[in-house]
Symmetry: C2
Subunit: 339 residues, 2 copies
Amino acid sequence: MTDYSIGVDLGGTNLRIAAMDAQGRLLEKVTLGTQVALGRDRVIDAMCQAIRGLADKYDGKAALQGIGIGVPGILDMRTGLLRESPNLPGWADYPVRTEIERRLGTRVILENDANSAALGESWLGAARDVDDMAMLTLGTGVGGGLVLGGRIWHGMTGMAGEFGHMTVEPDGVPCKCGNRGCVEQYASATAVVRMAREAIDSGAPSLARAASSDAEFSAKAIYNLAIQGDEDARKIFRRVGRALGVVIAGLVNALNLPMYVVGGGVSSAWEAFAPSIFEELTQRSMVFAATAPASAAGDQGASAQVEARAGTKTIVTRALLGSDAGLYGAARLPFASSE
Amino acid sequence: MTDYSIGVDLGGTNLRIAAMDAQGRLLEKVTLGTQVALGRDRVIDAMCQAIRGLADKYDGKAALQGIGIGVPGILDMRTGLLRESPNLPGWADYPVRTEIERRLGTRVILENDANSAALGESWLGAARDVDDMAMLTLGTGVGGGLVLGGRIWHGMTGMAGEFGHMTVEPDGVPCKCGNRGCVEQYASATAVVRMAREAIDSGAPSLARAASSDAEFSAKAIYNLAIQGDEDARKIFRRVGRALGVVIAGLVNALNLPMYVVGGGVSSAWEAFAPSIFEELTQRSMVFAATAPASAAGDQGASAQVEARAGTKTIVTRALLGSDAGLYGAARLPFASSE
């Protein structure tokens, strides 16, 4: 009888559930809306019902190894309490793990969503051929996850991987974390829009036109201008790349990992910001310069992946799994913790 | 029969050798001048002779587990070649490990000196109660070492721990590594003297007097002025602390380790720069703010060490072993690699 696990990606808008086997083959995927507005208990009811539905199907055919749940917010890894979650109001200090274990009678492992995404890319995505990797997820904010030896590196209190709040400009833009100049203030979707509005204020006509014709003026709209060659839009993505380059150069110098993966919504604009990442890396990291693959200045394709397998080149590349990274990573959790 | 090892700290000026047992008890220590000017072969002759002298003494009484050698410069961990060493001219690409193994008939483990120092502090010094730690060594440059699970984290090609070249000012002072604004340009002994000369150029009378009366105007002389209350000198050490604070905050956010140790010659000025480190940490790292010991703003003594053992507090403290850290760490290498 084959082993399988159930992964859950509990987002602010979608609740996605996947049954996967130990080799990472997807058995089945279910997507539900997260009816956050109806309250915590309704969301947990819906989640447990969907999990039970999946588990019943495989009952007798495969052995459930556990349930992994990726959650946005700050977790207490020891107690399984969700400490703080801006996207899940009413969940603070709720014993998510214990409650779901009680209802389903199965082992439950909770994980921060950025860590889950890193584990997903490490298991089945861009970093599948290496054991050690760091991932930056560029969304509303900038999340991060570190995988060492195939497992999430939690650090002392489960708070490792907060790459988004590493400083790139000591006197830079204030961040809601209390710091100034966090990479999140230059490389998140929120930051891209803010930088575009700043550019409009100092006179950027095409960005101004795009903003006035688009009620939801988004990072994507700005990227579309950039690929059409608009210089003001391109400049914004160069700033994104420079900020990411400073942080990734720091990680390369500190950790000398074989792979750094950039994911999240803003990573769709990879072509627009990647050249600036590689410029910064080459200048700011002797370790990178000594281990850069031949194709470092541009996108890193198949040949770079081969070098990564050989364990001598530093690969910086975009994520492969898109929004499934966190879901697959969550499904990996029960296997990763029992190995 | 007890196990012992021999550690060697091969510096540009001193060659120090220690025999230690597996519990970290010092059996014997020998200090020789490194007669670098006489050439590589003479240094290796002297080293092998001194090691043989020690080993003969313990022959039949204790079992030699191997020889660990801390070397300044860039090593190729796989081949045991010294790739580049500014302080040991003529040693580049010399097969140090193979040659010494051949001469002594014992297993030899080479390690970068900053990594050895981190391992020493981790084994017997400030971080002896934790498994995971990072160390910054403030000397002529700024070296670094990372210990995870009681072992040096080498990364993919042995180049991890290059904290000295992490960027703190993206457009800051040029560094010989090719980057701008490396922490080494603000927190090394060289940087302290450079900043003092800059201050003199823009009018700092007491620093100017000290510089003209002292042929070897050093970081130590500037520290002496700082503890006498000289504001220009104090300002320099605040810059040291700010730069270290930015880098350590980044490491705390990325790794969430229980302990960060600051060593090397400049760490004697701890009182002058530590308050600025803690200011930066509190502002720049939510992870630090959530895990700071009660005594965070000042020196962290015995109570902080107790909290570190409990694994819930982030401790940033000065090194305890002084110039012996690298020597003891070198002696640890044969034990750490056979566990």
